[in-house]
């Protein structure tokens, strides 16, 4: 276990500086900053839009439903799939360290960077929303803080899912996008309790539990079917951990056929 942690820390330390120089990080950063631009435009183009209304509408529809899955998947899919694609996995798999450390360390590095970028993105987004001059819903703590928490939680969950997928399939980003935007969308629209199976449901539960009543303007935030915020946080945590454990298990046993 100590060897696993040491090796994971080494991978994280080695991966982080390389991530900072990568094109993928630039894409993630641009995506994370996009909501700020949208909020600024929303405030500029329609002067009746209030800061709180912009934060809620753009935050829920654009940030949580689009940007968070997208950046999580783009960021997490790099953990293993890049090494397979570049055929450099050979060097790492013929070293005396637990294979699982590769996934854990590299995911930890990308999660750290993702958290920083999403945090910056949400911060700038709220700043941009605050510039709006509309007289309606003001921007309050109950809007911004839960949005930040849900964004960071969602980013970590989706990136862990993508990283784990990289241990099972060749194109984790494609499978991840199909899951996030097709499967989750389908489940969310089925009657009954199927929504519980989606990440988005738990992100919504996090917001509804701890956030301003202003969120209630969206369908789905007022329903009695939402879980307690703490329950959803636990579910998301378990999902992240479960994905990483499944990925680590698979990585320890799987052979990767790399072209010569």
């Amino acid at each position: 276990m100590i060897r696993l942690l040491q090796a994971s820390a080494l991978h994280a330390a080695m991966h982080l500086p390389r991530l900072l120089r990568s094109r993928r990080t630039l894409i993630v950063l641009l995506l994370a900053l996009a909501p700020a631009l949208v909020a600024w435009l929303a405030g500029r183009l329609n002067s009746s839009n209030a800061p709180g209304e912009i934060a809620i509408a753009v935050g829920w529809i654009f940030v949580l439903q689009l940007v968070v899955p997208l950046v999580g998947l783009v960021s997490g899919s790099a953990a293993i799939a890049d090494e397979v694609e570049d055929r450099t996995l050979t060097y790492l798999f013929t070293r005396p360290m637990p294979r699982a450390s590769l996934l854990l360390g590299r995911w930890a590095a990308s999660a750290l960077l993702l958290t920083a970028m999403l945090g910056l993105g949400v911060g700038l987004f709220l700043q941009a929303a605050a510039l709006a001059r509309g007289a309606g819903q003001p921007l309050e703590w109950g809007i911004g803080a839960p949005l930040l928490c849900a964004t960071l939680a969602g980013g970590l969950v989706y990136s862990a899912l993508a990283a784990a997928l990289g241990c099972f399939v060749k194109n984790p980003i494609v499978v991840g996008l199909a899951y996030a935007f097709a499967v989750e969308g389908f489940l969310a629209n089925l009657p009954g309790k199927n929504q519980v199976l989606t990440v988005q449901f738990h992100l919504r539960s996090l917001l509804a539990q701890h956030a301003s009543p202003a969120w209630a303007q969206f369908e789905g935030f007022t329903g009695a079917g939402l879980l307690e915020g703490t329950t959803s946080a636990a579910v998301l945590g378990c999902l992240t951990l479960g994905a990483l454990l499944a990925g680590a298990w698979r990585l320890s046993r799987r052979e990767f056929v790399l072209a010569s």
């Binding site: 080494l10 390389r18 055929r87 060097y91 798999f93 013929t94 005396p96 360290m97 010569s260």
Partner: protein, 309 residues
Amino acid sequence: MSAVVEARELGRWYGDVVGVSDVSVTIEGGIVGLLGANGAGKSTFLKLLVGELKPSRGSIRVLSEVPFANARLYRRLGFSPQQDALWGDLTARGTLEFLLRASGFPRAEARDRADRALRRVQLESAADRRVAGFSKGMRQRVRIAQAIAHDPEFVVLDEPLNGLDPLARRAALELFRELAAHGAHVLVSSHVLHEVEELTRTVLLLHRGRVLAQGSARDIRALLDRRPRRVAIRARDPKRLARALLTLDGVSAVRVGEDGALEVETRDLAELETRLPALAAEVRAGVRRLAIADASLDALFDELVGGAR
């Protein structure tokens, strides 16, 4: 001393494609050449040997260990893969340091070992340059350096001379000999017989995924030299040239194809090449083209397989 590699009925296939099949072999150590044409299964065998792949059938043990995902073995094993893949954004030193750290060496020792390994492959002057800007030969040397930097007991090198210029090739061969002289076992794959011949007398010959022969390079070379060589000749008057060629020492058969091309079998290629111009002029056959049809290692394998049949 137990064998370095022991494979029993080892098989590995990719869907319908056979990588290696029914390989039973014992490699005792020292420098061993793994010889085979492209597609013979050398890389698959080496990937099974270093645990990158799992056998579809049979078993393999390396230094008495099952290789797949075996951390104990990887402390004692160095592997230079054939694929020209490295982290382009890292420097040569950075690459080696990272891999040495991953092998469990502390930072300072990893740096020392990286420098030493880069010196051994004569890359010390490019140590701080990014690998992305390296030539193919330099990248090959980085791959060799990472395989030897942790002083492994057993070094496995897949086509390590590819991309090297003659000087670097000579230096690499010298390095492999030096590793062996210091007690390491070295397994080098190649599809070029004379490369292996320069390095070792012990050769394992793979063909179409099977072990064809195990023995000395000299025996294989002798086999290559003894067998008749086929030469394709195009001439204005092939029949007249065919009659003339049959008078030459060493020519055992001449066939005239439907398209008028001659196929000559000779045990003395040098004699044929020397005497052909004069002979052709004498009978006014007008030689237009000459090609040695079976100069490659493939031809030797076909010969051996044919003989086995």
